[in-house]
Symmetry: C2
Subunit: 309 residues, 2 copies
């Protein structure tokens, strides 16, 4: 194989109760990444987007992740990476993760897959570190493994794939502002009261249980954030109102996707999902807030190969 084109999807993370732990792979929105072997032993990036993303391999997450991978193997050739961004940076649905994970996934394919999924997560995390200032795997893990994932450890990478109830849907509304992950992480407190920790982690445990038992009532009570959302919500236009509207329309839960500004709702009914999407987009339209809104099932596959030669 000399050339491969992949679709590297968006992802939502935290899911209110699992800060830096939970992630969900989306079906819609994502980057198209083409990687070709080239004779010269170098990495070239062609970024095809409206966002002025650097093509410098030391300033582009895909280049950084690719270099992390290539440190661990020997090749006689180089790679030309073309990235057609489908996710706006700073949107809270894993734009950087899609580029870095998609790139290392594609390179691994071109090398006949010497690396495990956990290795690919590790390499991709170098991109996340560059863009956010800290290592975290909650976006890259679900893209690479597919489905809903729980990052148990990033010291020695350990990620579990949790069950994805088939009827579960995600409704995303993204107001058209940018929040840098690094800025959004600043509003998270360094120290947490033990009572809050107990409350939040009990919810995380319950959420995991609700995925196995498909208990949407329990899921609704569990997908609650008493630690990060109270501070981050102020960064997002109309967050409280969007939450209220979505709940009224029957959302199982509503929260901030990743570091925002995207807001996710969960639903287990397509009609309800459509209703929520309509209500929240109407609300932004009334206030002249530009947005992107869509519904996605959980993508159980993750990164998809579009073509290879």
């Amino acid at each position: 194989m000399d050339s491969i084109k992949v679709f590297s999807p968006g992802s939502i993370t935290n899911l209110s109760c699992g800060y830096d732990i939970l992630g969900v792979c989306l079906q819609n929105r994502g980057d198209e990444i083409t990687v070709k072997k080239i004779d010269k032993k170098e990495i070239i990036i062609n970024s095809n987007d409206d966002y002025n993303i650097s093509e410098d391999i030391n300033k582009n997450v895909a280049g950084i992740a690719a270099q992390a991978l290539l440190k661990n193997t020997k090749t006689k050739f180089g790679f030309e990476i073309e990235i057609k961004k489908g996710i706006k940076p700073g949107s809270g649905i894993g734009s950087s993760a899609a580029s870095s994970a998609g790139t290392v996934f594609a390179i691994n394919q071109l090398l006949d897959s010497p690396f495990s999924q956990m290795d690919l997560i590790k390499f991709s995390m170098e991109g996340e570190k560059f863009v956010s200032g800290t290592y975290h795997a909650d976006n890259v893990a679900p893209i690479i493994l597919g489905g809903i994932t729980l990052v148990r450890s990033i010291d020695e990478i350990d990620v579990i794939k949790l069950p994805s109830p088939k009827s579960l849907e995600v409704i995303i509304i993204r107001p058209n502002i940018e929040i840098k992950t690094s800025d959004s992480r600043k509003v998270v407190k360094n120290k947490i009261k033990i009572e809050k920790m107990v409350q939040q982690s009990a919810n995380l445990g319950s959420f995991v249980s609700s995925l196995y038992t498909e208990d949407y009532g329990l899921m609704s009570k569990s997908v609650v954030d008493v630690i990060v959302e109270p501070n981050r919500r102020i960064l997002i236009p109309e967050f409280d109102k969007i939450k209220e509207i979505s709940k009224e329309d029957g959302a199982i839960a509503v929260g901030i996707s990743g570091s925002g500004p995207s807001i996710f709702s969960l639903s287990n009914n397509s009609t309800v999902s459509e209703k929520i999407l309509k209500s929240v987009t109407n609300h932004y339209e009334k206030l002249n807030i530009s947005y992107d809104g869509f519904i996605s099932k959980v993508n159980s596959t993750g990164i998809k190969i579009i073509e290879s030669n």
Copy 2:
């Protein structure tokens, strides 16, 4: 029914990764509680133990829990409660919880069960509050529901019963010293670094998953305490050594049971359990530390009615 005798078992809590959240109902060790209707509208406690437990209904957890229950109903009679303690107070295997939960369970039976399990947990928690200074349901919940439980919320009581893998066994070794829950709670820090919180709650989420999938490898990596154990271990004689010995013998995990001094190990193999018990009791014997040691399967039933008339 005018009289009932119940066996109210011990329980281990926290399970390293679920402070104030997880609990496991034991088969061995427990209080025998007999409750009889009496004509006079009062509560009488006869405590049958070597521990100088007060018979004052305002200073005995059973009396406090019974009063909490009776505030919510009208009766024309009173109750005589006889408690034969089978669990030493301050042992870390839920001595107070056994007395308070067993008592309200028995009274509820005598009243033809007007109260739900969640109600009984709530009443029992008044006993826990009295003895430890704070409300917590992690001991009373598994005794009342049986099995392995997760306390999602104590504001509005919400407890989930998790799966109990059939082969799971608990090995308990209790050095013969008393640690008051209220003292043991003092060594727990009020504020936790967010990184530690993420690490611990990721482990809790993984532990819940491991119960559904019976993945003992994951359970072993998940039943780890980076928050409470580092401070509490110093209260328990030879904790580190007991942990080391048990792990060498094949324990899935080792930690402090509740607020200590009991130490639990998990195993999924009876031969391994016996080996662990022998090694840890030998170790205490060599050092002339008196102890109580036993092996228990998970008790999926909880409080058991021994006889009723």
